[in-house]
Subunit: 422 residues, 2 copies
């Protein structure tokens, strides 16, 4: 089938659209299946599932594949998911640079790249670079059917509007219309979310195991944040700021946080806080390892503390362990409250590895209910460099193949999904 | 229609059963509606909705009602929910007594009663009293169609099996088969859950406003627990123990909790903890009000502390305010993490009213993110005596009218729902 042909336009009921979404979602996950398998997995009758498989084929999302294995009788023809019908572009903004990628419709990345760009240079500068990189990728791979764009941002986002809301490490970005900018430039729908939410979605999509259905992703970077999955779906909360755990108090403490309170977990155990303490330790001689680095490079970073910890520098080891215990104390509270099955630790500080993880685990097990920790797993991210990008792809595809979007797509008979942002 | 007649038996697909559930749920909420209203509200075609309205009438759940108002043309006949087709029996067990009730299918209570019985007397004694009270109610109201039983328990419950799991204030109840006992006695399906979960469900069902969709119900009784609603549904967590917040640490503290840790919130601000401190204050003369009570009644209870607070006794006021602030500090953490729209405070200690509430609010607002508290409401339960019972009714009805139950009910052609407990 050609990419740009006009498809038959007709009206689906809301329920029909849900059937269609169900079938597309199942075949997308399974890649290649028989018609009876589709009917069984979706609990739809053979005639209904046949009807909506045909609609999905007309949309170019499904296609006839090879002949499958016979189970007695005539060998069935497979139905394949057409992962190349459209593409998705994503960017994951960080404090000092951004990742971009293009993906097919299964979430397999076609290309990814990293570009240095300090987020403090403001949205005009940084997003112009993102646009330029998107265009390079489009040209290099001759992408003709970009269907949607996903952007991850290191700060709070009002998901419904795609606006950053007072992001602390992003001066000049407050309520900047990221969605409108990309939407006007590339003429496709755009979704924007907090980076940690996308990491949680990405870990879920990449790992594909059931334990990730009740997942809390903890990003320990400059700050500390959480992404929460319930039944495999993001829990965003009433204002969309669920998971904003960096300013949870860990009790009496003299350190004043950028938010004005004292004792916030990220002002004690976040990457910025550790680097600040490390500089003092380097100056005072508290850490011989860091003093040497300060003398030669004139600064001390969180990466230096992690290196010191690996080299057995006592101050660095103790600092990483203390950060882990403090973070674990907060997680213990969240475990009692939320009862997750998996906690994934990511972000730059998580490169400290097992020393950090062991301290977090000890603290959680000490302070949580036995029933809540009976089968709880606490692990480092398995996809530290890919979870955010893959989560952004997942967000876009979830929105594109959502039943209301499919209903409008079929009704308008266009060659690609139509999304009207509110 | 007669109650016990055999209904037509035929097979529904899983999707048909979902349509049927959707229609029943809508008419149950609206009570009395026209066929076009049902079709519109459920997004089902007129022919499909007509088909399943007929099935629901055959099950005796819907029935033809009065002639409605004409909107031009022939006046339509209303479809009514048949709230008297079946009844539900519920019991809410507490530390020193239990509530029982019978309800129709809309959740309107037919009768409720309170019986004193200390839960520490063990399951055989207490549950025999519950059974006796159930039978009295059945006889007094000549209930002929009890379809299900719901039991609330003041401790952790494994929902899938209905077994209490090491409930701290219920010696002898660990893994006692509550479900099997009632199921064998009354020959109906039985569901058991933690009392706080049921209070959250009940507050949601009774208030009927959208803000209760993202609700955290906090019960401050002898202990402290939470029930969590997300999108209007209970969040139970991976092991079903979500909301067990009583042992969240509020930092360094000398008080040892019954769990063995120190600094647990319920060991500091729960009803038992306050009563323990109150007795000391009465003995030492720290509270003149409580000393007088101790002298005359030989004991001091949480109710005495609340009375003292209302009478302006300084120790009592300060104790209530401190409990509120400590609880608020824990809630601030949960607000940052979960971002609810409404927190409801219930349980015996909540009778302290505005003094407690003001302290909780102050603490939450001080320590939570501005975005998370922008529209957050923190209120006392509007239904302190009914939320638990109504939540138990809601749990039973949700399970009875769930699509898989309806599918089996239609397939077997029985006069009442069939539930096979795993």
């Amino acid at each position: 089938m050609a990419g740009k042909k006009k498809v038959a336009a007709f009206d689906l009921t809301a329920d029909d659209a849900q059937y269609l979404a169900l079938i597309i979602s199942f075949v997308r996950g399974a890649r290649s299946v028989t018609r009876p398998e589709i009917s069984e997995a979706t609990s739809l009758s053979r005639s209904l599932s046949t009807k909506f498989i045909d609609v999905a084929c007309d949309l170019n999302l499904l296609k006839n594949g090879d002949i499958g294995q016979s189970t007695g009788g005539r060998a069935p023809r497979l139905i394949d998911f057409n992962e190349n019908a459209g593409q998705v572009l994503v960017a994951e903004l960080g404090a000092t640079g951004f990742n971009v990628a293009a993906s097919d419709l299964t979430g397999t990345l076609i290309e990814s790249a990293y570009v240095e760009a300090n987020v403090s240079k403001g949205p005009e500068t940084v997003l112009a670079l993102v646009e330029q990189k998107f265009e390079e990728i489009i040209n290099a791979h001759k992408l003709k059917n970009v269907w949607g764009i996903g952007i991850g941002v290191p700060g709070p986002v009002e998901f419904a509007t795609g606006l950053p809301v007072s992001p602390p490490i992003m001066p000049g970005w407050d309520r900047y219309p990221i969605r409108e900018r990309f939407s006007q430039k590339f003429k496709v729908p755009v979704w924007v979310d907090n980076d940690v939410n996308l990491m949680a979605l990405g870990e879920h999509a990449l790992r594909k195991d059931a334990i990730t259905n009740e997942l809390i992703f903890i990003k320990i970077g400059s700050g500390i944040g959480a992404g929460i999955l319930t039944h495999g779906r993001l829990h965003r909360g009433a204002q969309g700021c669920a998971g904003d755990i960096g300013h949870i108090s860990i009790g009496v403490n003299e350190v004043t946080c950028r938010c004005g309170n004292t004792g916030c977990i990220e002002a004690v155990a976040g990457g910025l806080a550790i680097a600040r303490d490390a500089e003092k330790a380097a100056q005072s001689g508290g850490s011989a390892f860091l003093s040497k680095i300060l003398k030669s490079t004139k600064k001390v970073t969180i990466e230096d503390v992690i290196a010191g910890s690996e080299n057995g520098d006592r101050w660095c080891v103790e600092t990483i362990v203390k950060a882990g215990k403090d973070i674990g104390a907060v997680l213990a509270t969240l475990v009692n409250f939320h009862n997750p099955s998996l906690i994934v630790i990511g972000g730059s500080v998580s490169n400290a590895g097992d020393k950090l993880l062991a301290a977090i685990r000890e603290s959680v097990l000490n302070r949580s209910l036995p029933l809540a920790t009976r089968d709880l797993q606490i692990r480092l991210s398995e996809y530290p460099y890919q979870a955010g990008l893959s989560g952004a792809v997942e967000m876009v595809i979830n929105e594109l193949f959502e039943s209301e979007t499919l209903r409008r797509w079929v009704a308008e008979g266009r060659p690609s999904p139509t999304v009207v942002h509110a």
